[in-house]
């Protein structure tokens, strides 16, 4: 069984991917908290409607690779776009716009959301396991 075919699990996985990427961007901001002229970055927020639409739609048919001479079909990895923050809290005289408090607030937000995504994932798996009968494992 391909777990990623289940819409909820696919969405949770995607959410986790987004949160992990955001954590990376936030660590970059914190690491550059004293770099002159550095403007913090952030990811574009996920849109629930488009996520839902993506989860409901069927995966596009891919070409199969049946011969060694075939070129591997391109598989696009989910890409999350990041951009510079438009209006930061404050800018230091050296041009650095990272406010540690703001970044740490975002980190804790990311943590909570990640926790939610993993818990949802686990709950769903447990539900499937219940349906399969726990004693079989």
């Amino acid at each position: 069984m391909d777990l990623s075919k289940l819409p909820l699990l696919a969405m949770a996985t995607k959410r986790m991917g987004w949160l992990a990427r955001r954590q990376e961007v936030l660590s970059q901001n914190v690491a550059n908290a004293d770099t002159p002229d550095y403007v913090p970055h952030d990811l574009k927020a996920q849109n629930f409607r488009s996520m839902l639409r993506a989860a409901k739609s069927v995966e596009p048919v891919q070409m199969a690779r049946t011969d060694a001479a075939h070129i591997e079909p391109l598989r696009r990895a989910p890409k999350f776009s990041d951009g510079k923050e438009k209006d930061p809290y404050e800018v230091a005289p050296a041009g650095n716009a990272v406010v540690l408090e703001e970044q740490l607030m975002k980190v804790s937000e990311t943590q909570t959301d990640y926790r939610m995504a993993t818990t949802l994932y686990r709950k769903h798996i447990n539900m499937i396991k219940d349906a399969l009968g726990r004693h079989s494992s």
Binding site: Q28, A31, T35, L104, T110, Y114
Partner: protein, 136 residues
């Protein structure tokens, strides 16, 4: 993997702050390093600049210490005619290190170091949560 990358970025931040702390302690340790001959220069304060560098192997922007430069500001003067480095008027040049500024710099480095450490902790917790999905 993004979370491992996040940890590496934070580690580069910690390393940069560590270098900065090293330079601060160099400045503080040399706050009384004077010249030995008249006309000689005492210790000149060093400064650190950070920069944001793309690591191609990692595909991430890491922090690196740029050039460790010298503070070009004027030296301080002290009246001490008995000192071997005193000039004709009896003044000795003293380093352009202000210990208050250095202490403040040190605090800031410490704070940023802590922030990076917290980032590592939180990335680690996220990885642990992912691994926990396998456990039951």
């Amino acid at each position: 993997m993004d979370l491992i990358k996040a940890i590496q970025i934070s580690a580069s931040g910690m390393k940069a702050q560590g270098t900065r702390l090293r330079v601060v302690s160099e400045n503080l340790a040399n706050v009384n390093s004077l010249a030995e001959t008249p006309g000689g220069e005492p210790y000149r304060r060093k400064t650190v600049a950070f920069k944001d560098v793309l690591d191609r192997g990692l595909q991430a922007n890491l922090v690196e210490v740029g050039k460790i430069d010298f503070d070009k500001s004027d030296f301080n003067k002290r009246y001490d005619p008995t000192h071997p480095a005193a000039n004709a008027e009896g003044y000795v040049l003293t380093p352009n290190v202000n210990s208050l500024i250095e202490m403040m710099d040190m605090r800031e480095a410490q704070r940023s170091y802590d922030a990076n450490l917290n980032m590592i902790e939180s990335s680690k917790r996220m990885i642990e949560r992912t691994i926990d999905l396998m456990r039951d």
